[in-house]
């Protein structure tokens, strides 16, 4: 075969190979979803969603874990959102030149790469032990808030950066202070982008397992939290727990709980993408 013919053959072969590689990845994803659907769909019911934990797989439900996740998500958002937005505003609108801002900038880059389990150690030491919060919803929420903070700050800054300069200048030219301009003009204009980033960050937080395990979750919590200092169970922890059970009968439970968790994360991610597109189209 001539070298030209061989080169052309390789070229064709790679086209097939590339398509194959893509398909393999998609098939993995599909196979994986089908497997979980197959294993878990049968278990999914209102009784499962509203059920308490139980030693009988068929009776066990995820009510407490689901509410624990909602609680943790809410606390995470409550703690992280104001701080994250404030920090983003500071870095983007105020800190332009200061050395403090440069330090924070490098710092955030590095924090974003710290494994989540390290945040677990931080939470264990600071919130659980030092602040005596115990393995409570509050400790978990604070830990996850620190975890998503870098992500939140980065997305907030991106959203702020997209606000056109003339809008700011118009406000300043009318005698508005920096904060008035930020509050009345910049933040509303960036709201869509900030919200998108927030939802993506929360989607990440909701699926985190390792930090919760490290700050110490309990095996059996048959009630929902009544306050921020209560112990909790959470969806990913409940899944971990069930996966861990050697009895095969808990497999479908884990799969069904995974379906719920995936439903939540996909819904959040999808919502974020939808928002982003809508905001890009209608927003400024």
């Amino acid at each position: 075969m001539s070298s030209a013919a061989r080169n052309r053959l390789f070229d064709r072969a790679f086209r097939v190979l590339g398509l194959l590689a893509t398909l393999v990845s998609l098939l993995l994803l599909a196979g994986f979803l089908v497997d979980i659907l197959h294993a878990g769909l049968g278990r999914l019911s209102w009784a499962f969603l509203g059920g308490l934990p139980s030693r009988f797989p068929a009776r066990a439900g995820i009510y407490t874990a689901l509410l624990g996740t909602v609680w943790i998500g809410a606390i995470t958002a409550l703690v992280a959102v104001p701080v994250g937005i404030a920090a983003g505003v500071y870095l983007e609108e105020y800190g332009a030149k200061s050395r403090w801002a440069a330090l924070i900038e490098i710092n955030i880059t590095n924090l974003a790469g710290v494994p989540s389990i390290i945040y677990g150690l931080l939470g264990l030491e600071v919130f659980v032990r030092f602040a005596h919060l115990g393995p409570s919803v509050l400790a978990a929420g604070c830990t996850l808030a620190l975890l998503i903070l870098p992500l939140l700050i980065v997305t907030t800054r991106e959203a702020l950066r997209a606000v056109p300069r003339p809008l700011r200048e118009a406000s300043y030219a009318l005698g508005a202070t920096r904060w008035q301009t930020t509050w009345h003009q910049v933040l509303p204009a960036a709201a869509g982008g900030i919200l998108t980033g927030l939802i993506l960050a929360l989607a990440r937080a909701v699926g985190e397992t390792a930090p919760l395990v490290v700050i110490g979750v309990l095996a059996y919590v048959p009630f929902t939290p009544a306050g921020p200092l209560d112990e909790f169970s959470a969806l990913p922890v409940q899944i971990f727990n069930w996966i861990d059970r050697p009895q095969k009968a808990f497999g479908p439970n884990a799969a069904a709980a995974i379906l719920v968790l995936l439903g939540i994360t996909f819904a959040l991610n999808g919502g974020a993408i939808y928002l982003r597109n809508r905001w890009r189209r209608h927003g400024r």
Binding site: L52, P53, S54, R55, G134, G216, L218, A219, Y220, V221, P222, F223, A226, G227, D230, E231, D244, R245, P246, Q247
Partner: protein, 305 residues
Amino acid sequence: GQRADSMRIRLDGSSTVYPITEAVVEEYARVQPAARITVGVSGTGGGFQKFSRQEIDLANASRPISASEQRACRQARYAGLVVAYDGLAVVVNPANTWARTLTVAELKRIWEPAAQHRLTRWNQVRPEWPDAEIHLFGAGTASGTYDYFTQAIVGTAHASRGDYTASEDDNVLVQGVATDRLALGFFGFAYYAANRAALRLVAIDDERADNGAGPVAPSLATVENKTYAPLSRPLLLYVSGPAARRPVVQAFLRFYLAQAPRLAREVGYFPLPAAEVRRQQRRLAQFVALAGLPAPAAATTPPTP
């Protein structure tokens, strides 16, 4: 809030006892839905540490509290109640065709500290067994099972090799043995009972005729008459003085003792005989009465049964 707190009971400790406690708590929720009971699985040692710091009200334990743990206790009074019997199960994978029995001496050779990185193949246990790696799975060091097993087999509590899969979480061990033809593991009988199809029991020969001749497998009979030696043991629930003063805890403990035989059997342990149950109920009543009194000068407690 205040009311929720008064209805709260915190449990932690042994993973061996966990299945019974889990079952009792689940059943109790039907009788007394207002009670807010949480159960952790830190292992017996981990449980006693929290117990001594008074972070929990009740501690599950698969061995009696040790002298050093007693000294660490902040509370003046506590009591241990026997809730069931366990025959520590030594198991292999069902595909393991050779290891039907093991002697205590062999177990010791496998698990003693000196075996680390030395005894690594099945034929080193018995020459006729396959020349294949042996994969060991056993209780983690914070567990009562580990303490009990090392004491009973190696002869010194807390002495063993370190190159095996050690977990407080018996589920990890079950899964490890269930998926590995070359595995050998040990854990509480309930974990075997819940996975009979995936595991196979190994009969243990303590080579002492007075304890039943030849290899003995754990069963209701052999555990109750103690011929499954030296791996039969009681499972315990410790209650602290301050907790025993609270009516919620008293009610829960009474329920626990009453239900323990039935639920122990259900989850795979060996129930106490009726007479023994009554004895434990009397001890509980005594302790509750005592708990109401001012603390004694010297910190003494009714020791283990």
